[in-house]
Symmetry: C2
Subunit: 204 residues, 2 copies
């Protein structure tokens, strides 16, 4: 199914809706109003109604959204209805923390491979995964891994991103404190702890 | 100095400008045009000019921004012209990665204390810091620590945030995958790896 062009800000909020709905699914709740969902997420109900309307009307006025089917529809929209394999680049402190991060599974992500360039780390294990040589990144496409998390120092991140793109990666979560230049067909989302912390004193 | 109300999006980009200018300072460059700065940051020059104009005109048409004074002015605006002490809550895998993260120092942040509730961790060291009992969080105000990074499981994060607020904390960087409800006077910025990863398949 094709949807019309959706603002990035709306797409960015969709995983929030999905996480809330997944939790409600587990709790066995059948419907939720935009007001209740807004209260849970600390958003405004019209915002939620507008966001969800981009994907077609899947709520009923006065009754609300059916939890199970709304969750399933968002999963389909975000292409999270299939398990998505993810490569983790970097088995240092940050990479180790990422590998153990419990939040990915609700979205169906599966950290399927970990790579590092350090001979001291290659062959060791992080959780159930054996750390592989960075060279093996080149074979990601054959393993149907098209997502990667970059958790290596900033000065190595650009070269790594280029290698990932050559290996067929289509989406990168960048945790290195730097900008990654990639072709337009590849989507990068960067999380930068220092940048985020950097705005706080302004508001104090 | 008081500035007029500045959009959050502009404030959010200021640390990017500061990091780029700090690097140029180190490289000894004296001026930079909005075009050059835009190229480095992969933004549009009018965007940069508009952002910086909120804080008064500190560039000269045709010459550009003086690197050292522009950096200093942004530091003053963001209140990063003094060293800011930060408490790290959680000495698990993520906390350990945060403590070792090299990106904070360019903004003058100093991880000054680490706390954990686990008796097995209290008294041990992370880098140069001795892990303290969570109880000691209550004394943050006396130590002039008004910023905190929350790196603990989601189910403990809300109670922790409330405790931090009672201890006088004014800004929180939340790394737990959940929303934190705090009084309006306290600013929370959340970074959620799963949310960020969750949007990528949509674009693939």
């Amino acid at each position: 199914m094709k949807y019309r062009k959706i603002p990035d800000e709306t797409v960015r909020r969709m995983p929030m809706y999905l996480r809330a709905l997944s939790l409600l699914e587990q709790e066995g709740q059948q419907t939720i109003s935009s007001r209740q969902l807004a209260d849970r997420l600390h958003l405004k109900p019209p915002q939620i109604r507008k966001d969800l309307s981009y994907f077609g009307a899947f709520g009923t006025r006065g009754i609300g959204y059916p939890v199970v089917s709304a969750a399933q529809q968002i999963r389909t929209i975000l292409r999270l209805d299939v398990r998505q394999k993810v490569a983790l680049i970097g088995a240092g402190r940050l990479g180790t923390a990422v590998a153990a991060y419990p939040g990915f599974s609700v979205f169906g992500f599966d950290i399927a491979a970990v790579f590092d360039k350090s001979p001291a780390k290659i062959g060791k294990k992080i959780g159930r995964l054996v750390i592989e040589d960075m060279q093996s990144v080149d074979a990601l496409e054959a393993r149907q891994i098209r997502l990667a998390i970059v958790a290596i120092p900033a000065e190595e991140a650009q070269a790594c991103a280029e290698r990932l793109v050559r290996a067929g990666v289509k989406g990168i979560l960048n945790l290195a404190p730097c900008y990654l230049a990639v072709p337009k067909r590849v989507k990068v989302v960067s999380l930068d702890m220092a940048m985020a912390l950097g705005v706080l004193p302004y508001y104090m």
